[in-house]
């Protein structure tokens, strides 16, 4: 009896390891859950000329506590084609950028993984080093490069390849260049991490059994680096969908992304509720690939 009680007490007493578990949860609650709940709350209100510029959700009038949830903001998102077009265009831009990152990042990660350990560290450093400069400054630098009078155009004209400056800045192409440039390290690092662990003997065995280099790559290297490919694609795709700064600075007026729509709802229309609804739907949209990723991982773990 006494033993049981003590055991029960021990189970409910604070234990040191709880602190370790609590830290990430506390972080998650403080910096994700609470802000998200505030956004969610605002998305159910109506805009008003007041401080803050929306109506309260809970009101206490005549001894009655009334909860008023305004669904109009969400209905608008689905009935107005502007939002659907912007969401789709964001996903498209993010998907193409991710693919480009993969095409550029895979060979880079592969060759870094095949280097000798010393040069490998230098190469990795070179991948990470640009991130030490502010992101904003790096995007600004691209304006100087792609400009009509910029470095690229002057170089090409100096070489006699073109006679008129190319209009790259303020076109979707510039937005792709900016996004691929900024997110490339996020693709290379996870790819490198999986490729560097690759057992070379497997490839040798494949060659011994008569595989051609391409065959060996597709049947050995590629499947074994899938985890890195998926991690890299997630890391690029998810932030790219919500990207605002790069398309805004480089992309020109016809690069419509959901971040821009959110901005104009919030700042131009002063419609915080509609902006919150856009943000909530965006979050749900981003959750889908994460859930797929998790499922995939679980299936892999079960398979082993």
């Amino acid at each position: 009896m006494n033993e049981e009680l003590r055991a029960a007490l021990r189970r409910w007493m604070p234990q040191p390891r709880w602190g370790v578990i609590a830290a990430p949860y506390l972080w998650l609650i403080l910096f994700f859950a609470i802000p998200f709940l505030i956004v969610l709350k605002i998305s159910f209100t109506r805009m008003a000329i007041a401080m803050p510029p929306y109506t309260p959700v809970l009101e206490y009038i005549d001894n009655a506590l009334t909860l008023r949830l305004n669904l109009a903001n969400y209905l608008k998102l689905f009935s107005d084609s502007q939002y659907v077009v912007a969401y789709l265009s964001s996903v498209k831009i993010a998907a193409i950028s991710t693919l480009l990152c993969l095409l550029i990042g895979y060979p880079m990660a592969y060759s870094i993984a095949r280097m000798s350990p010393t040069s490998r560290n230098i190469a990795l450093m070179l991948v990470i080093l640009p991130s030490w400069t502010s992101f904003l400054i790096r995007v600004y630098a691209w304006i100087g490069i792609l400009d009509g009078n910029g470095i690229l155009n002057r170089l090409l004209m100096g070489m006699g390849l073109i006679s008129e400056p190319l209009q790259i800045l303020y076109t979707p192409a510039a937005a792709y260049i900016g996004i691929v440039y900024c997110y490339l390290p996020f693709m290379i690092l996870p790819l490198y991490a999986t490729l560097v662990k690759l057992d070379h003997r497997l490839l040798e065995a494949a060659y011994d059994l008569g595989a051609r280099p391409w065959q060996a790559f597709w049947r050995i290297t590629w499947p074994l680096s899938r985890a890195g490919v998926i991690a890299g694609c997630m890391l690029v795709m998810i932030p790219a969908i919500g990207e605002f700064v790069i398309p805004e600075m480089l992309g020109g007026p016809d690069t419509l992304m959901i971040g821009r729509v959110l901005w104009s709802e919030f700042f131009n229309n002063r419609d915080w509720p509609a902006a919150s609804a856009v943000a909530t739907v965006l979050l749900l949209l981003l959750l889908i690939p994460i859930v797929i990723f998790n499922r995939q991982q679980q299936r892999q773990m079960e398979a082993r």
Partner: protein, 382 residues
Amino acid sequence: MKSQSAAVVLSLCALLLAACGSKDKDAAAPAGAAAPAAAPASKTLNVYNYSDYIAEDVIPGFEAKSGVKVTYDVYDSDEVVEAKLLAGSTGYDIVVPTLNFFGRQIQAGVFLKLDKAKIPNLANLDPAVMQRIAQQDPGNQYGVPYMSGTTGIGYNVDKVKKAFGNLDVVNSWDLVFKPENISKLKSCGVTLLDTPSDLIPIALHYLGENPNSTDPKVIDKAAALLKSIRPYIQNFHSSQLVGALANGNTCLVVAWSGDVIQARDRAEEAKNGVNIGYSIPKEGAPQWFDMLAIPKDAKNVDNAYAFINHLLDPKVAAANTNYIHYANPVPSSLPDVAEDIRNDTTIYPPAEVAAKLFTYSVLPAEVDRQYTRIWTELKTGK
């Protein structure tokens, strides 16, 4: 599994790097946002104003005179200030919104009613200007004008001359709104302000409609007009156009007067051979006022009054105008304003031009929404 966990660790490193990158951006955020606690007789003042919008010696002069330490932060769009004001507790004691934004913010209850006895220099203000402002701030209770300017046409003198033979075209909005004209400048670049609240009223005024119309059908006429010239517009941007015009990357802009004049001066300094002009078209153009106002939750109210009073001093107002090239509303400052600025008809428009200028008014939320909608469709070409 090992490879995967390594992938996760490295990914986390990458995310941390990204976080470092964004930290730099945060550092650029207003340092004065966390206002010092109110002391009985505080010696601090937090001012939030447009960038490049005050003469260099004005703040040191005020600090020396009053012993108050000024924290001066800057922004580049009314929208950003408004979002902060509406969220509350900005920590700022003085903000400088544009009149039409200011009007709506009064309705939202953002500002403190001014104690006019504490601003003796109010007597220096131009009564005609105060009367125009009273349309949005009845009785001039909440704000004091700081500077005023116009939204007009900025152009690259040589490029326009090359395309048209002379400069007569810049005196009319026809240059912007007639496809046969603007198409001639497409190759050298056309940039418009990225603000529907400037461009739609201008288009309405050009069509002979009320620029502040709230009739959706009338506003759609402006949308159709803007759509007809969309193929010739390279970009929409409110702050990059100064640099683009000065570098010769764009040859025609619709922009705020002071920005174009700034671009002109920058090009002159750079000696890059780019000549820039500004014109207020003969059909008339928007005139706007930027208003000094004190948020309700300001902590250093007395210092704010003292600073506003300082800015209305004729000598100080003249110094500001000489530096930023916008017209101040203090007529007695004119003798101290540099002659070339005083006689510049684009800064101090003559009476017959001034008569055709119009002001923006506060628009209902549905109209704002229609504006934004038109703008998104216009920019994306849908």
